[in-house]
Symmetry: C2
Subunit: 143 residues, 2 copies
Amino acid sequence: MTNPTADRRDYEEELRQAGVRITRPRRIILGILSETEDHPDALEIFRRAVALDSSISLSTVYRTMKLLETIGAIRRHAFEGGPSRFEQASGAHHDHLIDIDTGDVVEFRSDRIEKLQDEVARALGYEIVHHRLELYGRKLRAK
Amino acid sequence: MTNPTADRRDYEEELRQAGVRITRPRRIILGILSETEDHPDALEIFRRAVALDSSISLSTVYRTMKLLETIGAIRRHAFEGGPSRFEQASGAHHDHLIDIDTGDVVEFRSDRIEKLQDEVARALGYEIVHHRLELYGRKLRAK
DNA sequence: AATGCAATTGCAAATCGTTTGCAATAAGAA
DNA sequence: TTCTTATTGCAAACGATTTGCAATTGCATT
């Protein structure tokens, strides 16, 4: 399924903007990222990429992810245990709830929590540059 | 400086409880952990240990940290970027504010945030098993 | 369409933090 | 003290990620 609601990013334009070349591997990886709803890791992206062009290498995936991260097109998350997982940087900031049984990631946003974080930090004499809030949970049995 | 306020843990008793031997390397590492106010990583603990007994190995430090973690005596934190850092598991739950300039860790606790987390999770059909909240910030210039 | 050169690639080897196999050692019950 | 087994130090393996390098490719230029 393609992304119905969200902004379909024009990654190629972003690359051009950043002054980097639009190569075949990049085009393929970017295509995968535009399609994806989940939070795949580098290896998963590599697998999907190889399915489209068997010559793509894992290093290129890593390099491309790093590139996209530095130009701000994607975000990297290091959830507990596993490897880094990626998501489009589009849309508003949000935090994550990770299903500890399935690894599924649910995005959420709480302005009230954000506000309290700021208050806490300020009270300690700090200003927040960024934060990480991850809830690790288990699905409630629908009663 | 030794830990003035907090409960000085009887690690040795905990080990005995867990049915493991109290060895010389363990005694030394435990001593370091009891003294420490900060959140050292394995290498730092290793350095401090070697100063007391040059025969201690890094693997033993790692093994001991893992052991203490499984018996619940210490907690491991994987802050952004760096290696795992450890702290005593004594005292109430708290979250962390990391000074991005110095690496210093400030502990804090907000029941209001915790409460909101529970609400968010429940609204999404989940129950929280544990969470991770890390604020990365910079000291405010005292005005 | 052909040229040239720097950016990018694939590959293999290196890296970092951490774990593990193994033979030697030491804890602590008998 | 003896015995059995857990624990150790060492070196080698590990998984995720990064890197050096020579070969390739994008693409601005003719």
